[in-house]
C-alpha cells in the first residue's frame, strides 16, 4: 500500500478491495493440495551409494601465511605497541605545541643540543674512519689533493665495486 495516496485517491481502491470475494478454505484443504504435489526426497534405494560429504577444496581454505599479518597479536605485544605509539604521539604533540606557542624555547633547545649532536657525529665519523682505514689511511685522505689520498679512496671504491660484482655474479650463478 502506498503511503502517499490521499484519502480521495484511496477511496476507490478501498471500494474495489471490498468487492473481492472472501476466501475461506475448508479445514483439510492444504492436505488435499499437498497430496497432489510430488516431493523429491533422498530415499535410500537398493544399490544407492551414500554421498561422502564434500571437503573444502584447498584453494578455498585461507592460507595461514597469507593472513598471518592480519592475525591479532598477543595482548602483551599489543599493550607494549600501544604504549610506545601513545608515548611517541604525546611527545611529538608536545613538541609541535611548543614549536607553535614557544618557538624561542625550541630554538634554545636546538641551538644547545644541535652543536653537541654535530660534534658527536663528527667524533663518531673520525673514530670510525680511523678504526677502518687506520691512522695512515685517514692521514692520506685528509691531505686534500694528494695522490695517496686519491689512491686510498680509489681502492675503497674498487673494493666496494668488486664485492658488488662478485655478489651479482654469485646471485646469477645461484639462480
Amino acid at each position: 500500500m502506498r503511503d502517499d495516496l490521499t484519502p480521495d485517491e484511496f477511496a476507490p481502491i478501498e471500494q474495489a478491495m471490498k468487492r473481492l470475494p472472501y476466501f475461506d478454505p475448508s479445514p483439510g484443504f492444504p492436505d488435499k493440495v499437498m497430496a497432489r504435489v510430488t516431493r523429491f526426497q533422498a530415499v535410500a534405494a537398493p544399490g544407492y551409494i551414500q554421498p561422502v560429504p564434500r571437503v573444502r577444496m584447498p584453494e578455498l581454505v585461507p592460507q595461514r601465511d597469507e593472513v598471518v599479518h592480519y592475525m591479532r597479536r598477543p595482548l602483551p605485544v599489543r599493550v607494549v605497541a600501544t604504549a610506545l605509539l601513545a608515548s611517541a604521539a604525546v611527545t611529538m604533540s608536545l613538541i609541535a605545541l611548543m614549536a607553535v606557542f614557544r618557538p624561542d624555547l625550541v630554538m634554545l633547545v636546538v641551538s644547545t643540543f644541535g652543536d653537541q649532536a654535530l660534534g658527536f657525529l663528527t667524533i663518531l665519523g673520525n673514530q670510525t674512519a680511523t678504526t677502518v682505514l687506520g691512522d695512515t689511511g685517514v692521514g692520506y685522505v685528509r691531505t686534500a689533493g694528494s695522490l695517496a689520498g686519491i689512491a686510498t679512496m680509489a681502492t675503497f671504491a674498487a673494493g666496494a665495486l668488486g664485492t658488488a660484482a662478485v655478489l651479482s655474479a654469485a646471485s646469477r650463478r645461484a639462480a
Binding site: R64, D65, V68, H69, L84, S87, A88, V90, T91, L121, V132, L133, G134, T136, G137, Y140, A148, A151, T152, M153, T155, F156, A157, A158, G159, A160, L161, G162, T163, A164, V166, L167, S168, A169, A170, S171, R173, A174, A175
Partner: protein, 198 residues
C-alpha cells in the same frame, strides 16, 4: 728484565694487526656456526633475498645505515616519554646497538654464505645441505676476512698497507651493507613470518 719486556713488546707490535684480524675471523666463525646451526632457514631466506637483487639489498642497506642514528633518537624519545623510561635510556640504547650489530652480523653471514657457495662452484662434497652451508660460509668468511689479514700483514708498509686496508674496508662495507639491507628487506616483506607460519 724490563728492557727485555719492552723489546719484546716492540717486536710483537707489528703482529698485533694480524692477530686482531685472525681474532675477528674466529669470532665471526663462531657466531656464524651458531647462527647457521640454530637459524639456518632464516639465513637461507636472507640469501634468497640477496639473490633477488643485489642492488636492492645494497640500497636498502644504505638507507638502513642512514636510519641508525634517527632510530637511536627515536628510542630516546620513546623512552623519555615516561619517568621510568628516562632511567632506561642507556639500557635502551645499548640494546638498540646490539640489535643493529646483530642484524648486520646476520646479514654478513648470509653474504659470506652466498659468496662461498659461488666460490665452491656448487660442488657436491657434502652429504647434507647444512654441511654445504657451513662449507660455503667458511670459504666466504675466509675470503672477506682474508683481505683484512693480508692488509694487516702489509700494514708495516706505509702506502701499500693503507691501500690494502682501504680495499678490504670497501669490500667489507658493501658486504655488510648488502647483508644488512637484505635482512631489512626480508623482514619488511614478511618472509620471516611467512616461513615461521609454514
Amino acid at each position: 728484565m724490563m728492557h727485555f719486556l719492552l723489546a719484546f713488546a716492540f717486536m710483537s707490535r707489528p703482529f698485533h694487526p694480524v692477530g686482531l684480524a685472525i681474532s675477528w675471523l674466529l669470532v665471526v666463525m663462531v657466531i656464524g656456526f651458531a647462527v647457521i646451526s640454530y637459524a639456518g632457514d632464516k639465513v637461507e631466506i636472507v640469501v634468497n633475498t640477496i639473490r633477488d637483487g643485489v642492488g636492492k639489498s645494497v640500497t636498502s642497506g644504505l638507507l638502513g645505515h642512514l636510519a641508525i642514528l634517527p632510530g637511536a633518537v627515536g628510542v630516546i624519545i620513546l623512552l623519555g616519554a615516561t619517568i621510568i623510561g628516562i632511567l632506561l635510556i642507556p639500557l635502551g640504547l645499548v640494546a638498540y646497538m646490539i640489535v643493529v650489530a646483530g642484524v648486520a652480523m646476520f646479514g654478513f653471514i648470509a653474504v659470506a654464505l652466498l659468496t662461498g657457495a659461488a666460490l665452491t662452484g656448487g660442488k657436491q662434497r657434502d652429504n647434507t645441505p647444512r654441511g654445504a652451508m657451513l662449507r660455503a660460509f667458511v670459504i666466504g668468511t675466509c675470503a672477506y676476512l682474508g683481505l683484512w689479514i693480508v692488509a694487516a700483514v702489509f700494514s708495516w708498509m706505509p702506502l701499500i698497507g693503507a691501500l690494502l686496508r682501504s680495499f678490504a674496508a670497501g669490500a667489507t662495507f658493501v658486504a655488510v651493507t648488502a647483508g644488512f639491507g637484505a635482512v631489512l628487506r626480508s623482514y619488511w616483506r614478511g618472509d620471516f613470518a611467512r616461513r615461521s607460519a609454514m
